[in-house]
């Protein structure tokens, strides 16, 4: 008898070796479900009904049902139209200021009243949209192009490029956006040529490392996917596999972060203008108006509230849009991938 044979302590009979299968000491019924209740289906049948949906189409379908997305998209569209055609929304000339109107409250035709110089607040808020939006959009564009390209190269090729960019990113992270921007805006070259563009360049200088980091992470994830390996084995060159497969699959997090950051850059511009190192005073912008209003805060708080409200709602729209897009593109919500 083999050594590893066990005995049942109750009846002393040998228990059959595990690997030979087990027989119960209880009686077990053999049940078979009626076939008409449990019909066999084809193995792995292909769904042929329904419209084919790409990942983007699927995201779009879930997006357009989200109230958060609808509200923010409508608001952003409105802001863009206002920035492009301010004259459609205000019949007043924002640069026409009469001192006799100084700090006057709102009245017909001038619903928000006047500021210290007697300019119409509503007209200034409407005309100030353009500068804020320009800063947000162009800073985001530069950051996405520069940060995205560097991050993608670092993530895809790795090695020394990656090491250098990682250290460079760390260095920029040690200098917070506002602090760094103040220093740059104080440089003679910038201080003497203040314009929308100096603000954009300054914010982009300190904004790209964050986007580079996010792109790098997304690219590394996509780079190691089997479909990239497969495309290389099909004969696609390394660079083409980056452009055709890796980058399109890394776009989702970049789009989300860029959208949210667009709002953040608008806030940063306002903060710099508030500190007196942002846009030049002659450029009409929400940040400049808020900065001007702070001296009259106690006597005429609405002068600060209106531009601040417009700015906050605009920024909120971009952040909400980013949030909605993130939910729609969430890989966990998607099947597979």
């Amino acid at each position: 008898m083999p050594e590893n044979q066990n005995f049942n302590p109750e009846d002393g009979l040998p228990i059959s070796k595990v690997r030979a299968g087990k027989v119960s000491k209880y009686k077990i019924e053999h049940f078979v479900a009626p076939l008409d209740e449990t019909p066999l289906q084809a193995v792995d049948s292909v769904k042929e009904t329904g419209k084919p949906l790409s990942m983007w189409a699927e995201a779009w379908r879930s997006l357009r049902k989200q109230p958060l997305f609808i509200i923010s998209a409508v608001l952003i569209l409105a802001v863009i139209v206002v920035a492009a055609f301010p004259q459609l929304f205000s019949s007043q000339d924002p640069t026409y200021c009469a001192l006799e109107n100084s700090n006057e409250p709102g009245r017909a035709g001038h619903i928000m009243g006047f500021n210290l110089q007697g300019c119409d607040i509503y007209a200034r808020v409407i005309y100030g949209t353009r500068a804020s939006l320009l800063v947000g959009i162009f800073t985001t564009l530069i950051v996405v192009v520069v940060g995205g390209a560097l991050g993608a190269l670092a993530g895809f090729y790795g090695g020394w490029i990656d090491a250098i960019l990682a250290r460079l990113g760390d260095i920029f992270f040690a200098l917070p956006l506002i602090l760094g921007a103040i220093i740059v805006m104080q440089l003679p070259a910038f201080r003497d040529n203040r314009s929308v563009w100096t603000v954009i360049v300054t914010l982009a200088i300190f904004g790209w490392p964050q986007l580079a980091r996010i792109t790098r992470g997304a690219v590394i994830e996509a780079r190691d996917a089997d479909y990239v390996k497969a495309s290389r084995a099909l004969g696609l060159s390394r660079f083409h596999s980056l452009v055709k497969h890796v980058i399109p699959n890394s776009l989702a997090p970049i789009i989300v972060v860029a959208t949210v950051n667009l709002g953040v850059y608008i806030v940063a511009e306002a903060t710099l203008s508030f500190l007196g190192v942002g846009l030049p005073p002659d450029v009409m912008s929400w940040g400049n108006d808020i900065s001007l209003a702070q001296q009259q805060l106690r006597s005429n708080p609405m002068m600060l509230m209106w531009p601040a409200l417009f700015l906050s709602v605009t920024v909120l729209s971009f952040i909400m849009l980013g949030d909605a897009v993130r939910d729609a593109l969430d890989p966990k919500a998607r099947k597979g991938a």
Partner: protein
Amino acid sequence: MTETATPKPLLEIKDLAITFSTPDGPVHAVRDANFTVMPGETVAIVGESGSGKSTSALAAIGLLAGNGAVSSGQILFDGEDIAHASEKRFVELRGNHIGMVPQDPMSNLNPVWKIGFQVKETLKANGLAGDNPKERVAQILADAGLPNPEVRAGQYPHEFSGGMRQRALIAIGLACRPRLLIADEPTSALDVTVQQQILDHLDTMTSELGTAVLLITHDLGLAAERAEKVVVMYKGRVVEYGPALDILRNPQHPYTKRLISSAPSLSAQRGDKHEAIVDEIVPGKVEPLLKVKNLTKIYDIRKGFGKKEKFTAVDNVSFEILKGTTTAVVGESGSGKSTIAQMVLNLLDKTEGEIVFDGEQIGNLSEKNLFKYRRRVQPIFQDPYGSLDPMFSIYRTIEEPLRIHGIGNAASRQKKVKELLEQVSMPASTMHRFPNELSGGQRQRIAIARALALQPEMIVCDEAVSALDVLVQAQVLELLDELQREMGLTYLFITHDLAVVRQIADNVCVMEHGKIVEQGTADEIFDAPKSEYTRNLLGAIPGASLI
């Protein structure tokens, strides 16, 4: 051996229905399920993914996902209906009455707590820590077969191998001596030899403690070997249950029959082997299509502060593949089998040795010749979710190789894509769809179509069917076989599953730790294995001695 008086069942599932509420409406995961577990008995629930096997078991321990609930029926544990029991009642039951061993050892231990802590809190929660919890924890870990339990208790999960983690999870599941243990695919993430050891140990422990086990598995061979009773589930319903060996040898329901005929572990034993196509070619007379000679891959592993360690992933490997045949490279995780595939595909540089394809050295090919080589050798990868670009439609996916190699114009390419889809038995309408709309098996068929687009001579299948359910796996293997017959393809088939090998391979190389320990024809390997390692691998195929 059969008692006439039937005692009270420990767990009784009666007309159970479980429904998940989803944004697309309710999903009925389980319907009209009935089965019982007697005290001390092992019952296996067998089914494919989505059959409702795990859902049924999780309902018995109150761990259904948030959107799932028992919609009708009863779950009687020791006579008490717990289908709708309160969270408080479940906290009392879990651990010391009903224990659980989960599926994936990598994600089921909290990475930030020591193993000993995670065992100890189980004891404490159930009031069983005693006066010397440390000693008790060590004892429990030792019982689960972990050597040096005192040291092991002080380590973190990431310091454990997969098999050791699973032992720790078994220790936790059995720490409070539950009367029922739910084991949810406890070994499907592990290598076969480790799986065998762990299941043997689990068997010994539960029979010593008299614990009843509800074993959930996709492998009918394993179920039949480890359980007294087998419950077969299909699309949320119990289609058949009965004594394990009876189910295996005398299946009644057509689904069970289909499952048994498709399971590689069982068919391998039956001798459903691959029939050679090119038996007229005598080795030696014909020049092989692929010749791998003394192939070696050494990695430098950085150990911090400039220290480096050499790791030999592939160690002096040689084999040949004749045109129109299939050679399988079999090994457990870490054996270096996938590294060979990557070097043959020229996706990874070799350290030493030669790879000769059709008389030409691979590795120092010029850019232009490499491009030509790519056309002749195509891969199919393991993960059906990862191998297709989610952004590309099926049409673009299959067309991509044609486009890269500048074959045909738009119209002829479209015709070709349709032909290829037909070859892999997919409707032509699929080409407008996207990978996320297809199942795993369907994606793998698309990957095959893509590989065939350039009419290659050799296809490298890197674990191409490992992630698929048995029925789908059988279907894809059959497709590969058909294509080989039609087109005279040559396959290099990389797999961890020796059972699959018999269905597809003419020749087999068995690898361990980067070296080939045995090679020969499939018949030689299966009928007269020479090395101890191959014998262990063969012996570990579940259900080995049952048919």
